[in-house]
């Protein structure tokens, strides 16, 4: 039993880590640009597929970095050409736009790489289990978790200590003032969008090593990412981090006792949080209205 629980907690932390990577990207874009990026899960899938294409030429390690960068670049281009045109309009338009983009990206992936799952080969050094009892902690999982932790720490450091990061945080709180201080808000939003998409691409490469590739692999992560943001509180990236881990572990633990309820439980958590603490666990007062 203990092993079973441990097994599921590990699974929960790993899936939670992916929720967090997804949710942080969605949250950054939501906080600064007030856009819900429906296509985020499809950028994730695209990151995985690009790594799949790159690995035969460059090897895993280069692909791990280059693929998210390429996806981030694509995100930047899409923001420049399409998303920025709807910032000043009713939020329904940005939703519809990213929704349409998600359909297109998913269909293009299916057209190019086929509807069936593909495996992503990871280096042999990462694929062994630790021991008989802890078979579920493979080297790849430890590696994956460390990359996630490094990138989250890196993101928080970026937002705290770099000039661009400070501007992004300031823009989250009061974009008008930031603009009035002479900062190029258009560029700020584009770069912020690209960083968010980069995180999705990174999560995509890591996830494909674990679960393989398929055109709609990101869809199952998108809704939990929204819920992580709602539970953690809009406006607080730390809250998003906590929210993602919380629903990941809760969902995995529920699997032990009642497998059919593994999705339902995260909605119950969301409902409870909204009832008891409407702004979310660590949300800024007044942002989430």
């Amino acid at each position: 039993m203990l092993q079973l629980v441990l097994f599921n907690v590990t699974n929960g932390l790993i899936i939670g880590a992916f929720y967090v990577l997804m949710a942080l990207g969605v949250a950054m874009i939501l906080n600064l640009s007030n856009v819900i990026n429906f296509a985020h899960g499809n950028f994730l899938a695209l990151g995985g597929y690009l790594a799949f294409v790159l690995i035969p030429y460059t090897g895993f390690w280069v692909a791990l970095l280059v693929s998210p960068l390429l996806v981030g670049l694509l995100g930047y281009i899409i923001e420049q050409t399409m998303v920025r045109r709807v910032y000043s309009r009713d939020p329904v338009y940005s939703l519809l736009l990213t929704f349409g983009l998600s359909f297109i990206i998913q269909d293009v992936c299916r057209y190019i790489w086929g509807p069936n799952g593909l495996p992503l080969t990871v280096p042999d050094s990462l694929s062994q289990g630790l021991s008989e009892d802890l078979f579920f902690i493979t080297g790849y999982r430890i590696f994956m978790m460390s990359i996630v932790i490094v990138s989250i720490v890196g993101l928080f450091a970026f937002l705290r200590y770099t000039r661009l990061g400070v501007r992004i945080r300031a823009g989250t709180l009061d974009l008008d003032t930031v603009a009035a201080l002479g900062i190029n808000v258009r560029l700020l939003r584009s770069l912020n969008f690209a960083v968010g998409i980069f995180l999705a691409g990174l999560a995509g490469v890591l996830a494909s090593g674990q679960i393989g590739l398929n055109p709609n692999m990101g869809d199952d992560l998108l809704l939990p990412a929204f819920i992580a943001i709602i539970v953690g509180g809009v406006g607080s990236l730390t809250g998003t981090l906590l929210g993602g881990l919380l629903i990941g572990v809760a969902s995995a633990l529920t699997t032990v006792f009642w497998a059919s309820a593994q999705e339902a439980v995260i909605y119950v958590i969301m409902a409870l949080v909204l009832l008891v603490r409407p702004r979310g666990l660590m949300g800024e007062e007044g942002m989430f209205t």
Binding site: V92, A264, L275, T289
Partner: protein, 340 residues
């Protein structure tokens, strides 16, 4: 909040002038438009086969038009954006389907149960949703909408799971000694759908012309002003959301009867997005816009999905094109031209 409302100070659209908004754009159905639309709808079975359509397609259009107009009650006339209406549509479908499968062979009873299931679920969740605004309202509605998808998907011995709920069919309608065979006769079923649609449209028109409806429009135009006038905005948004969910689940119940089938994709947020694009494509500030949008979408999808497997790209492109080039929608553009 939004650039499309073009709310100017001094234009409090509170005093009820039925039909025409101060900006010259009609907000409520005008008699001529309504007459033309009803003529087209009523005569559809006569000319449909001439243009390559079929009756089930017409029924499908009317059903989707109903759910799109239900959403427009919220989106176009209250100004809050639900991106989770497929949930209540799908609940209506499952409610009707499950009733016919397990409980009774009365089509009326099945309709009633479907409507109640979706409507009550929407009303209860609305309590949690109605305090959010703008993009966050959308986000919470998406998130809550998806819960029913997972329930239908996981509870497979009751709902049929991923394969959907089969094993039921609509039954002839009985009024005392009379029966109407909507089971075998597609055209009669079309008129039944049209009848329910008509009742819902009449109710919507009545609600929108009532002081309650004018209050909703006031909230759409300027929430802060409405609040200062003593209107409890949250409560009105909750009521509007609930009403909209009841209409959406009515459409869902009809959808189950139309196909004799209910499946989890009718609960999925992808359908919610499709409903929103119908509304926006037709024109979200016009009463009949969603009907036009639904007709175009359903016919296009029917056509494209028979031509190519990559219909998702086409639908996605349609979304992007509408947002970039036709944000006012078809009726919105038609109506605006004379006034500017």
């Amino acid at each position: 909040m939004s650039a499309t409302t073009t709310a100017k100070p001094g234009q409090a659209r509170l005093n009820g002038r039925p039909g025409v908004q101060p900006s010259g754009r009609p907000a409520l159905p005008q008699w001529t438009t309504a007459a033309v639309i009803w003529l087209v709808l009523l005569s559809a079975p006569l000319w449909l086969s001439l243009v390559g359509g079929y009756t089930a397609l017409a029924s499908h259009v009317v059903v989707m038009a109903l759910v799109a107009m239900a959403l427009n009650f919220l989106l176009g006339f209250t100004g809050v954006m639900s991106f989770g209406h497929a949930a209540y549509f799908g609940l209506g479908a499952y409610g009707a389907g499950l009733t016919l499968r397990y409980l009774s062979d009365s089509t009326w009873f099945a309709m009633l149960n479907g409507i109640l299931l979706g409507g009550i679920a929407g009303t209860l969740l609305g309590i949690l949703i109605c305090r959010r605004r703008g993009v966050y309202f959308a986000m919470v509605t998406i998130a809550f909408g998806q819960i029913f998808y997972y329930i239908a998907y996981r509870w497979d011995d009751f709902t049929g799971g991923y394969d959907g709920l089969r094993g039921f069919s609509r039954q002839p309608l009985t009024f005392g000694p009379w029966t109407i065979d909507i089971q075998g006769n597609g055209t009669l079923f079309y008129y039944f759908v049209l009848f329910v649609f008509g009742v819902c449209i009449a109710l919507m028109t009545f609600l929108l012309r009532s002081p309650f409806g004018r209050t909703l429009i006031a909230i759409r135009e300027n929430q802060r002003r409405a609040r200062f006038l003593g209107i409890s905005v949250d409560k009105h948004i909750w009521l509007s959301f609930s009403i909209s969910c009841f209409f959406a689940s009515t459409a869902g119940a009809l959808y189950a009867l139309l196909n004799n089938f209910a499946d989890p994709t009718s609960l999925h947020y992808n359908l919610s997005g499709v409903i929103v694009i119908m509304v926006v494509m037709g024109g979200m500030r016009s009463f009949w816009g969603p009907l036009v949008g639904a007709a175009i979408y359903v016919v296009l999808q029917d056509y494209i999905s028979s031509m190519t497997v990559n219909w998702m790209s086409f639908v996605g492109l349609l979304f992007v094109m509408v947002v970039m080039f036709f944000p006012r929608g078809i009726l919105g553009m038609l109506q605006r031209r004379p006034s500017t």
